[in-house]
């Protein structure tokens, strides 16, 4: 079985951390990632940019409706994900609009932090 582990935290609290505290958390993340890589359990992982960079795509009556901000409907639940490569936001939004569930649900489009070198 594969499992998707979704990480939730308060962005504002995280943003308010001092550099030393932030560095300590990053160190912890590196150690954790290394441990699951070594255990052969790691499939993929990425850090998302904050929700202020998010857009949401819905297709209603054949029209693509793009809105500012993250997905916010409590009546809908997370059902899956695609990780895609796109030249710019418009290309990512166009792909999102082709996801079948966009016709009745929502697709949140969140950029990913570039991998650290």
């Amino acid at each position: 079985m594969q499992y998707l582990l979704l990480i939730y935290a308060n962005e504002r609290d995280e943003g308010a951390l001092d550099p030393a505290a932030m560095a300590a958390i990053m160190q912890e993340y590196q150690e954790f990632t290394k441990s699951i890589v070594q255990a052969g359990q790691m499939k993929a992982a990425d850090r998302l940019k904050p929700t202020s960079s998010a857009s949401t795509v819905r297709v209603r009556n054949g029209k693509v409706v793009t809105t500012d901000g993250p997905f916010a409907e409590t009546r809908e639940q997370l059902g899956g994900y695609y990780l895609v490569e796109a030249k710019h936001l418009d290309e990512a939004l166009a792909i999102a609009a082709r996801i079948p569930s966009a016709k009745y649900g929502s697709v949140e489009v969140r950029p990913i932090w570039p991998a650290m070198g």
Binding site: K49, P50, S52, S53, A54, S55, K63, V64, V65, T66, T67, D68, G69, A86, K87, H88, L89, D90, A92, L93, A94, V109, P111
Partner: protein, 418 residues
Amino acid sequence: MDTHKRAVHEVYHREAGRVLATLIRLLGDFDLAEEARQEAFAAAIEQWPARGMPVNPCAWLIQIGRNKAIDKIRREVVFRTKVMDREAATAEADALVENPDADAAAFGDDRLRLIFICCHPALSMEAQIALTLRAVCGLTTQAVARAFLVGEDTMAQRLVRAKKKIRDAGIAYETPDPSILDQRIDGVLAVIYGVFTEGYAATVGAELMDAELCREAIRLGYLLDALLPSNARIMGLLALMLLHDARRAARVSSAGDVILLDDQDRTLWDRSQIDQGLALVERSLRDPSPVSHYAVQAAIAALHARAACKGATDWPQIAGLYAVLLRLHPTPVIELNHAVAVSMVDGPERALDLVDSLAARGAVREYHLLHAVRANLLQRLGRLDEARDAYQTALETAKLEPERRLLKQRLARLASYQ
């Protein structure tokens, strides 16, 4: 203001958006380009009085802005990499900046790119309008803040967040792909119309209209029409704005009171602006593409503009156009206007049914005009007590001082009948 300062000011008003648009392409960064634009105009104020205005002020400003930005990039590159030798730093800085190709077509494309980036649907509507006014129209942050009735700091924050979103989300500085161009044009038109309606019918405060916002919206309409010529929807919106704005001088009395269409002095209407609007609405409606709601609204405004006096208004045709509009773009406001037109054709009783059905759906209970229209219909039906109650409710929900004064007048007149 001395002549030189005024000259720079005029160039700023005309070219600010154009200079910024090209600087963003050359520098690849919104903030850097805005700063460069500011420095370029500061240099113009300093240098033009002594050396005279350059032959091509726009190219001069872009050149100066670009050079200032390169200096800044160089300083930062040197700062970032203290050990890097100066030659390498210079090479890196130069690589960041292309040479400006000063041909008019490239300028046009740049402006279009800037409009599309400012009106990107991944930004909130509020952010789109604010960014368009600041970046494309060149309004100061202070002026944009005034238009939104918020403090300058709040507006500055909003603009910073919008630009951060553009950067973080990867919104491209490109005109949209042809497959989504139509939809994105609709978004741009919504922003321009948003600027216009905010100026034409401010939603709170003491003043009824903000003429500067109306002018900027019309300017944006002309700009878009020049960049994407013969587009029926753009012509429709431009016609709509011109025809409404042509009535500006007649809409408010010298005491600042609202004057409704019926009571306006039609000699105060701007005839040349009406003629421009009429020509555009005809071109828009002749286009084979599906008719836009802007063009239909412009056609309604055209019928009002053509009537020499209120008795000459072609109400049956206006009611018909509102019925079309209800199919194209059903909103509570249009439904209400449709009811008003119906009252002029079929009488107040049928119109009251339409208004009551609208009110029963609860969509606009807080909207003062619904109650004002209801009151007027009830009055015409001789149901004066109910009319008074409806005017009272309208007064409780109206937020603009001039509109409140008008409602109080109506109430007083109603009391004199009883």
